[in-house]
Subunit: 114 residues, 2 copies
DNA sequence: GGCATGTATTCCTTGACAGGCATATAACTG
DNA sequence: CAGTTATATGCCTGTCAAGGAATACATGCC
Protein backbone atom coordinates (compact mmCIF):
# COMPACT_ATOMS: atom_id res chain seq x y z
CA UNK A 1 0.00 0.00 0.00
CA UNK A 2 2.27 2.72 1.22
CA UNK A 3 4.98 0.79 -0.50
CA UNK A 4 3.11 1.10 -3.76
CA UNK A 5 2.50 4.79 -3.18
CA UNK A 6 6.19 5.25 -2.61
CA UNK A 7 7.17 3.61 -5.88
CA UNK A 8 4.45 5.40 -7.76
CA UNK A 9 5.59 8.71 -6.37
CA UNK A 10 9.18 8.13 -7.38
CA UNK A 11 8.24 6.77 -10.79
CA UNK A 12 7.75 10.28 -12.13
CA UNK A 13 10.92 12.09 -13.23
CA UNK A 14 9.61 15.48 -12.17
CA UNK A 15 8.94 14.17 -8.70
CA UNK A 16 12.40 12.67 -8.51
CA UNK A 17 13.72 16.08 -9.50
CA UNK A 18 11.71 17.68 -6.72
CA UNK A 19 13.02 15.17 -4.23
CA UNK A 20 16.57 15.86 -5.38
CA UNK A 21 15.97 19.57 -4.95
CA UNK A 22 14.67 19.09 -1.45
CA UNK A 23 17.70 17.04 -0.63
CA UNK A 24 19.77 20.21 -0.72
CA UNK A 25 17.40 22.15 1.47
CA UNK A 26 13.71 22.73 2.15
CA UNK A 27 12.02 25.03 -0.34
CA UNK A 28 8.69 26.76 -0.87
CA UNK A 29 6.45 25.69 -3.74
CA UNK A 30 7.25 28.61 -6.01
CA UNK A 31 10.94 27.94 -5.85
CA UNK A 32 10.43 24.28 -6.68
CA UNK A 33 8.18 25.16 -9.58
CA UNK A 34 10.70 27.50 -11.11
CA UNK A 35 13.65 25.20 -10.54
CA UNK A 36 11.86 22.30 -12.22
CA UNK A 37 10.26 24.32 -14.98
CA UNK A 38 6.85 23.28 -13.79
CA UNK A 39 3.67 25.27 -13.44
CA UNK A 40 2.62 26.17 -9.93
CA UNK A 41 -0.50 23.98 -9.98
CA UNK A 42 1.46 21.12 -11.44
CA UNK A 43 4.05 21.48 -8.72
CA UNK A 44 1.38 21.47 -6.05
CA UNK A 45 -0.06 18.29 -7.47
CA UNK A 46 3.28 16.55 -7.53
CA UNK A 47 3.92 17.69 -3.99
CA UNK A 48 0.60 16.25 -2.95
CA UNK A 49 1.60 12.87 -4.32
CA UNK A 50 4.94 13.07 -2.54
CA UNK A 51 3.20 14.10 0.64
CA UNK A 52 0.76 11.21 0.50
CA UNK A 53 3.64 8.86 -0.08
CA UNK A 54 5.24 10.27 3.04
CA UNK A 55 8.26 11.50 1.19
CA UNK A 56 7.89 15.15 2.09
CA UNK A 57 6.32 17.20 4.81
CA UNK A 58 5.16 20.78 4.90
CA UNK A 59 5.89 23.65 7.19
CA UNK A 60 3.47 26.56 7.09
CA UNK A 61 5.28 29.86 6.91
CA UNK A 62 2.68 32.59 6.42
CA UNK A 63 1.27 32.03 2.94
CA UNK A 64 4.28 29.99 2.00
CA UNK A 65 4.37 26.23 2.28
CA UNK A 66 7.91 25.11 2.77
CA UNK A 67 8.44 21.50 1.76
CA UNK A 68 11.17 19.30 3.19
CA UNK A 69 12.19 15.71 2.73
CA UNK A 70 11.00 13.15 5.22
CA UNK A 71 13.67 10.48 5.68
CA UNK A 72 11.22 7.76 6.67
CA UNK A 73 10.40 6.28 3.27
CA UNK A 74 14.06 6.26 2.39
CA UNK A 75 14.46 3.60 5.03
CA UNK A 76 11.71 1.62 3.35
CA UNK A 77 13.45 1.81 0.02
CA UNK A 78 16.72 0.89 1.59
CA UNK A 79 15.16 -2.13 3.21
CA UNK A 80 13.67 -3.17 -0.10
CA UNK A 81 17.02 -2.83 -1.74
CA UNK A 82 18.96 -4.73 0.88
CA UNK A 83 18.46 -8.27 -0.47
CA UNK A 84 19.50 -7.13 -3.92
CA UNK A 85 22.58 -5.48 -2.57
CA UNK A 86 23.60 -8.85 -1.30
CA UNK A 87 22.99 -10.18 -4.78
CA UNK A 88 25.38 -7.83 -6.45
CA UNK A 89 27.97 -8.35 -3.79
CA UNK A 90 27.88 -12.02 -4.71
CA UNK A 91 27.97 -11.06 -8.33
CA UNK A 92 31.05 -8.96 -7.85
CA UNK A 93 32.74 -11.84 -6.18
CA UNK A 94 31.82 -14.14 -9.01
CA UNK A 95 33.20 -11.80 -11.61
CA UNK A 96 36.43 -11.27 -9.77
CA UNK A 97 35.16 -8.13 -8.05
CA UNK A 98 36.84 -5.95 -10.64
CA UNK A 99 34.24 -3.29 -11.35
CA UNK A 100 35.07 0.10 -12.75
CA UNK A 101 35.96 1.64 -9.44
CA UNK A 102 38.96 1.44 -7.14
CA UNK A 103 40.39 -1.70 -8.68
CA UNK A 104 43.38 -1.19 -10.93
CA UNK A 105 45.89 -3.99 -10.73
CA UNK A 106 44.61 -7.49 -11.29
CA UNK A 107 47.45 -9.67 -12.62
CA UNK A 108 45.27 -11.02 -15.34
CA UNK A 109 41.83 -9.86 -16.29
CA UNK A 110 39.69 -12.69 -17.60
CA UNK A 111 37.55 -10.38 -19.77
CA UNK A 112 33.97 -11.19 -18.77
CA UNK A 113 31.72 -11.59 -21.76
CA UNK A 114 29.08 -8.98 -22.48
CA UNK B 1 19.39 2.03 -20.08
CA UNK B 2 17.99 5.20 -18.79
CA UNK B 3 17.31 5.83 -15.21
CA UNK B 4 13.72 6.50 -16.16
CA UNK B 5 13.25 3.02 -17.59
CA UNK B 6 14.48 1.54 -14.36
CA UNK B 7 12.00 3.46 -12.22
CA UNK B 8 9.17 2.83 -14.65
CA UNK B 9 9.92 -0.87 -14.59
CA UNK B 10 9.86 -1.03 -10.81
CA UNK B 11 6.79 1.16 -10.53
CA UNK B 12 4.54 -1.79 -11.31
CA UNK B 13 3.73 -4.10 -8.38
CA UNK B 14 3.61 -7.20 -10.56
CA UNK B 15 7.04 -6.44 -11.87
CA UNK B 16 8.36 -5.93 -8.36
CA UNK B 17 6.86 -9.30 -7.51
CA UNK B 18 8.66 -10.86 -10.45
CA UNK B 19 11.91 -9.29 -9.39
CA UNK B 20 11.40 -10.60 -5.87
CA UNK B 21 10.74 -14.07 -7.27
CA UNK B 22 13.90 -13.96 -9.33
CA UNK B 23 15.83 -12.93 -6.28
CA UNK B 24 15.39 -16.44 -4.92
CA UNK B 25 16.48 -18.12 -8.11
CA UNK B 26 16.19 -17.87 -11.89
CA UNK B 27 12.91 -19.13 -13.29
CA UNK B 28 11.26 -19.83 -16.62
CA UNK B 29 8.35 -17.70 -17.77
CA UNK B 30 5.64 -20.23 -17.00
CA UNK B 31 6.74 -20.57 -13.42
CA UNK B 32 6.77 -16.80 -12.98
CA UNK B 33 3.33 -16.50 -14.51
CA UNK B 34 1.84 -19.06 -12.17
CA UNK B 35 3.57 -17.75 -9.10
CA UNK B 36 2.33 -14.23 -9.76
CA UNK B 37 -1.12 -15.20 -10.94
CA UNK B 38 -0.47 -13.56 -14.28
CA UNK B 39 -1.31 -14.72 -17.76
CA UNK B 40 1.56 -15.97 -19.86
CA UNK B 41 1.38 -13.10 -22.37
CA UNK B 42 1.15 -10.60 -19.57
CA UNK B 43 4.15 -12.12 -17.91
CA UNK B 44 6.12 -11.97 -21.13
CA UNK B 45 5.29 -8.32 -21.53
CA UNK B 46 6.35 -7.50 -17.99
CA UNK B 47 9.56 -9.42 -18.54
CA UNK B 48 10.18 -7.42 -21.66
CA UNK B 49 9.95 -4.21 -19.69
CA UNK B 50 12.29 -5.58 -17.05
CA UNK B 51 14.67 -6.75 -19.76
CA UNK B 52 14.72 -3.37 -21.45
CA UNK B 53 15.38 -1.74 -18.11
CA UNK B 54 18.34 -4.08 -17.72
CA UNK B 55 16.91 -5.66 -14.60
CA UNK B 56 16.77 -9.20 -15.91
CA UNK B 57 18.53 -11.28 -18.49
CA UNK B 58 17.45 -14.41 -20.32
CA UNK B 59 19.09 -17.76 -20.78
CA UNK B 60 17.78 -19.91 -23.61
CA UNK B 61 17.17 -23.45 -22.49
CA UNK B 62 15.50 -25.26 -25.36
CA UNK B 63 12.04 -23.74 -25.67
CA UNK B 64 12.28 -22.35 -22.18
CA UNK B 65 13.48 -18.87 -21.43
CA UNK B 66 14.96 -18.78 -17.98
CA UNK B 67 15.01 -15.29 -16.53
CA UNK B 68 17.49 -14.17 -13.91
CA UNK B 69 18.16 -10.93 -12.12
CA UNK B 70 20.90 -8.68 -13.41
CA UNK B 71 22.58 -6.91 -10.51
CA UNK B 72 23.66 -3.89 -12.58
CA UNK B 73 20.63 -1.64 -12.11
CA UNK B 74 20.62 -2.41 -8.43
CA UNK B 75 23.87 -0.52 -8.24
CA UNK B 76 22.21 2.39 -10.00
CA UNK B 77 19.38 2.41 -7.49
CA UNK B 78 21.79 2.15 -4.64
CA UNK B 79 23.77 5.09 -5.97
CA UNK B 80 20.59 7.10 -6.29
CA UNK B 81 19.68 6.25 -2.76
CA UNK B 82 23.06 7.04 -1.25
CA UNK B 83 22.57 10.80 -0.66
CA UNK B 84 19.24 10.13 1.02
CA UNK B 85 20.75 7.50 3.21
CA UNK B 86 23.08 10.17 4.47
CA UNK B 87 20.03 12.32 5.11
CA UNK B 88 18.37 9.87 7.41
CA UNK B 89 21.60 9.15 9.16
CA UNK B 90 21.78 12.85 9.93
CA UNK B 91 18.18 12.73 10.98
CA UNK B 92 18.85 9.96 13.40
CA UNK B 93 21.75 11.90 14.78
CA UNK B 94 19.59 14.93 15.26
CA UNK B 95 17.15 12.88 17.24
CA UNK B 96 19.86 11.53 19.49
CA UNK B 97 20.34 8.36 17.44
CA UNK B 98 18.69 6.27 20.13
CA UNK B 99 16.85 4.38 17.48
CA UNK B 100 17.75 0.95 16.20
CA UNK B 101 20.85 0.99 14.07
CA UNK B 102 22.98 3.52 12.31
CA UNK B 103 25.56 1.24 10.87
CA UNK B 104 27.88 2.89 8.41
CA UNK B 105 29.78 0.63 6.10
CA UNK B 106 33.18 -0.47 7.32
CA UNK B 107 34.63 -3.54 5.59
CA UNK B 108 32.39 -5.98 7.38
CA UNK B 109 28.96 -4.72 8.13
CA UNK B 110 26.88 -6.92 5.86
CA UNK B 111 23.43 -5.81 6.94
CA UNK B 112 22.69 -8.04 9.95
CA UNK B 113 19.22 -9.27 9.15
CA UNK B 114 17.42 -6.51 7.35
C1' DG C 1 -12.57 45.76 4.52
C1' DG C 2 -10.05 45.37 -0.13
C1' DC C 3 -5.99 43.94 -2.48
C1' DA C 4 -1.74 41.34 -3.37
C1' DT C 5 0.82 37.12 -2.83
C1' DG C 6 1.37 32.18 -2.43
C1' DT C 7 -0.66 27.76 -2.80
C1' DA C 8 -4.33 24.20 -3.45
C1' DT C 9 -8.14 22.27 -6.05
C1' DT C 10 -11.24 21.39 -9.90
C1' DC C 11 -12.27 20.32 -14.69
C1' DC C 12 -10.82 18.77 -18.96
C1' DT C 13 -8.03 16.60 -22.44
C1' DT C 14 -4.54 13.60 -23.92
C1' DG C 15 -1.40 9.96 -23.75
C1' DA C 16 0.63 5.92 -21.56
C1' DC C 17 0.21 1.54 -19.91
C1' DA C 18 -1.88 -3.01 -18.15
C1' DG C 19 -4.77 -6.89 -19.16
C1' DG C 20 -7.24 -10.11 -22.08
C1' DC C 21 -7.35 -12.55 -26.28
C1' DA C 22 -5.78 -14.49 -30.54
C1' DT C 23 -1.95 -15.58 -33.01
C1' DA C 24 2.93 -15.88 -34.44
C1' DT C 25 7.48 -17.82 -33.53
C1' DA C 26 10.77 -21.21 -31.73
C1' DA C 27 12.29 -25.68 -30.24
C1' DC C 28 11.61 -30.48 -28.89
C1' DT C 29 9.18 -35.17 -30.00
C1' DG C 30 7.70 -38.71 -32.65
C1' DC D 1 6.78 -34.03 -41.61
C1' DA D 2 2.90 -33.00 -38.04
C1' DG D 3 2.02 -32.14 -33.35
C1' DT D 4 3.11 -30.27 -28.84
C1' DT D 5 5.19 -27.27 -25.52
C1' DA D 6 7.02 -22.72 -24.27
C1' DT D 7 7.28 -18.05 -25.13
C1' DA D 8 6.63 -13.68 -27.70
C1' DT D 9 3.88 -10.27 -30.22
C1' DG D 10 -0.10 -7.64 -32.08
C1' DC D 11 -4.56 -5.69 -31.46
C1' DC D 12 -8.11 -3.79 -28.65
C1' DT D 13 -10.10 -1.58 -24.69
C1' DG D 14 -10.51 0.36 -20.15
C1' DT D 15 -8.16 2.89 -16.73
C1' DC D 16 -5.37 6.11 -14.71
C1' DA D 17 -2.16 9.76 -14.33
C1' DA D 18 0.10 14.18 -16.09
C1' DG D 19 -0.36 18.82 -17.80
C1' DG D 20 -2.86 23.13 -18.76
C1' DA D 21 -6.22 26.77 -17.56
C1' DA D 22 -9.28 28.81 -14.52
C1' DT D 23 -10.54 29.30 -9.99
C1' DA D 24 -10.93 28.71 -4.96
C1' DC D 25 -8.54 29.16 -0.53
C1' DA D 26 -5.37 31.24 2.81
C1' DT D 27 -2.54 34.76 4.67
C1' DG D 28 -0.27 39.21 5.08
C1' DC D 29 -0.48 44.27 4.18
C1' DC D 30 -2.66 48.87 3.46
Amino acid sequence: MSDAALWTALADPHRRAIVALLLERPRPVGEIAEACGLSQPGTSKHLKVLREAGLVRVRHDAQRRVYALDPGPIITLDAWLAPYRKLWNDSLDALGRRLDETASDPPDTPLPKD
